[in-house]
């Protein structure tokens, strides 16, 4: 599973350097040199934690699907926002809270992390715990208690993108 040190180091360096450029929002040579030096130093200590796959984890297709995932996620979030707002404003307050279990086919830890956080960030659903390939979800309006049904409604909309990104 773990790939070579050099490849993992390079990936960490690239991500740190991108973060530096985003933070400084300038391309002045002093900033870039300083940023590169600090990224290089921090990557020495951080690469072991930051990535397991290294360069092999980054594919053009993955980047494309990640860029696609951002609008998809925001659209799901906006929809869920309106749904929860409707339930709050409605005089009868049509909620049916409960905890359901869903399954995921994702293998990598980071993919599960992003899936769990995406589910948490969409209002109405909240990831309580991830254990192996099971997720415990608190749901504001439990439509089905069935594992497969709940997986289809909550998890599948994100999972199909994440599966490609973290192949």
């Amino acid at each position: 599973m773990k790939s070579g040190k050099v490849s993992r180091y390079i990936v960490t360096l690239i991500f740190l350097f991108i973060l530096w450029v985003l933070l400084t929002t300038t391309l002045a040579w002093e900033e870039l040199t300083t940023g590169f030096i600090f990224s290089a130093i921090i990557a020495i200590f951080g690469y072991n934690y930051f990535t397991k796959r290294g360069l092999s984890g980054i594919t053009l297709k993955g980047i494309f699907y990640f860029l696609l995932y951002i609008p998809v996620f925001f659209w799901e979030m906006i929809k869920a926002n309106f749904d929860v707002a409707y339930r709050v404003v409605h005089p009868k307050m049509p909620i049916k809270p409960g905890i359901v279990q869903i399954k995921t086919t994702l293998k990598s830890d980071i993919a599960k992390l992003i899936l769990g956080n995406s589910i948490t960030l969409t209002p109405g659903t909240l990831t309580i715990e991830i254990a192996e390939d099971n997720l415990l979800i608190h749901w504001i309006n439990v439509k089905t208690k069935d594992i497969h049904g709940a997986t289809d409604i909550i998890g599948k909309r994100f999972e199909k993108y994440l599966k490609v990104i973290f192949k």
Binding site: T12, F15, L16, L19, W20, L23, T24, A28, E30, E31, T34, F38, S39, I42, A43, F45, G46, Y47, Y49, F50, D109, I110, K112, L113, G116, N117, T127, E129, I130, A131
Partner: protein, 236 residues
């Protein structure tokens, strides 16, 4: 009881009257303090730092900051000393407790692994830009320590090498004092800004200020990390 209440009310009234008399003498919104006025009008020109707070903290009052760093250092050592003696007594108790600590959840573990280098870089960004943006060595150091704290929460059984921590910490303290001594050699007084000031608002400006803030950042970050380590009772 009643007389006591009455007396306290009278005392409070006297105090309030005193405060009102004092504060009514102070004109608000006017330059009362000459020093502050001087810092604002001459600060950038004299120190090269756009952030006036930084120019005061590290240039006009650099010696004071050295004292503050020392205070933190002594506090960390004192904490270590206190906890070290207590741990010897409770050795057995803490051992059985360690076995009970559960593994942190996958979300916390993966998230900390992913964020740890990014948090370190963010801390570095804050202390490198101390002379340009709000922030500086103390804030950046605190951010770095928070990254280590996150790792401690996610992996309660792991421990970092305290020796290398204290080596980096002492080195950065030495750099601070060393730069101060260089100032004494080159331009006559301790911590004087002997390096070229550069163009304000660029990264390589303000002479010694960024270098000192980098040293302070490392020092504060690793010092707070060793404080966290001591508090978790895993120091050696």
């Amino acid at each position: 009881m009643r007389t006591r209440k009455i007396i306290s009310i009278i005392i409070l009234l006297i105090l309030a009257g005193g405060f009102i008399l004092t504060f009514s003498q102070i004109p608000f919104g006017k330059d009362k303090i000459n020093v502050a006025h001087y810092y604002i009008s001459k600060g950038i020109e004299e120190t090269g730092a756009v952030n006036i707070v930084t120019s005061v903290v590290l240039n006009y009052r650099g010696f004071d900051t050295l004292g503050e760093v020392t205070v933190l250092f002594i506090a960390a050592i004192g904490l270590g000393a206190v906890l070290f003696t207590e741990k010897r007594v409770q050795k057995h108790a803490s051992k059985s407790k360690d076995d009970k600590t559960k593994k942190a959840s996958l979300i916390l573990r993966t998230g900390s692994n992913l964020l740890f280098p990014l948090i370190l870089l963010f801390g570095a960004y804050i202390f490198v830009h101390g002379h340009l943006t709000p922030g500086g060595g103390f804030q950046g150091g605190a951010v770095i320590a928070s990254g280590f704290l996150l790792m401690y929460l996610a992996f309660p059984k792991q421990s970092i090498n305290k020796k290398s921590l204290s080596v980096v910490e002492s080195l950065s303290g030495l750099i601070f004092v060393g730069i101060g001594l260089f100032g004494l050699i080159f331009s006559g007084y301790f911590l004087s800004n002997f390096l070229p000031k550069g163009i304000p608002n660029t990264l390589f400006s303000a002479g010694i200020i960024p270098i000192i803030y980098i040293a302070v950042g490392f020092k504060v970050g690793f010092e707070l990390t060793s404080v966290i380590d001591d508090l978790l009772g895993r120091g050696k």
